[in-house]
């Protein structure tokens, strides 16, 4: 059941600059992670995506959240039942 998700995560991690990838469900529970993605961030990622979706147009696509810091960039996107976070090195 989880094999397809594992394969997709493995594929994502091989993109240049990506250091970690994390998939979270709507309850903030981790579905899968690869690389250096911090597992303790699962709840925060889901909550951030939920809050950002409230600010965006309800009929439009869900927003992509970009968090920038000295150490790298985190991109977060929420879909129907899943929130994905990509960790990139700067």
């Amino acid at each position: 059941m989880e094999r397809t998700l594992e394969m997709q995560l493995e594929e994502s991690i091989h993109n240049p600059g990506i250091t970690g990838v994390l998939c979270v469900d709507n309850n903030g529970l981790c579905l899968g992670a690869k690389g250096s993605a911090p597992l303790k961030a699962c709840g925060s990622i889901s909550a951030l995506a939920g809050q950002a979706a409230k600010l965006a147009n309800p009929n439009g696509p869900t927003p992509v959240i970009c968090l920038e810091s000295e150490h790298g960039i985190v991109l977060i996107k929420k879909t129907d039942k899943l929130t994905t976070a990509l960790f990139k090195s700067s």
């Binding site: 059941m1 989880e2 469900d25 309850n27 981790c30």
Partner: protein, 128 residues
Amino acid sequence: MSLMCTSSGLLFRLRIRHSDNTKLKSLLNSEGSLLAFSGFPDKDASAAGAIASNIWTSFQKSGQYSLDDGKLNCVLVECKLGKIAITKVANLLLCLCAKETVSYGMLKTKIEAMAAYLEEPLSQVASS
């Protein structure tokens, strides 16, 4: 008669989604007695089933008293050697034991998929 009315049919349904990360899947009645299982030996499965049923009943009672809501959906438990998920299917309990490496989200998704798969045939058995 549906396939689920035979024990072999029930075992087939429990085994069909078996993966390397799942140690045990068991189906229990409301008293914690084992109806069917797929995974490690019978003695361990019976003990695990009784404990799972006890945990479920305790949480359901607590929910009813403190939240005035007895509709418990799912219980996730983290143990030293693995993780356990418990949910209700028809009038029975479904318990899934997984390795400690399985994430909570995946475990919850698995037990929900399993419960949806067993819901219809077990409801037929429960109503007959």
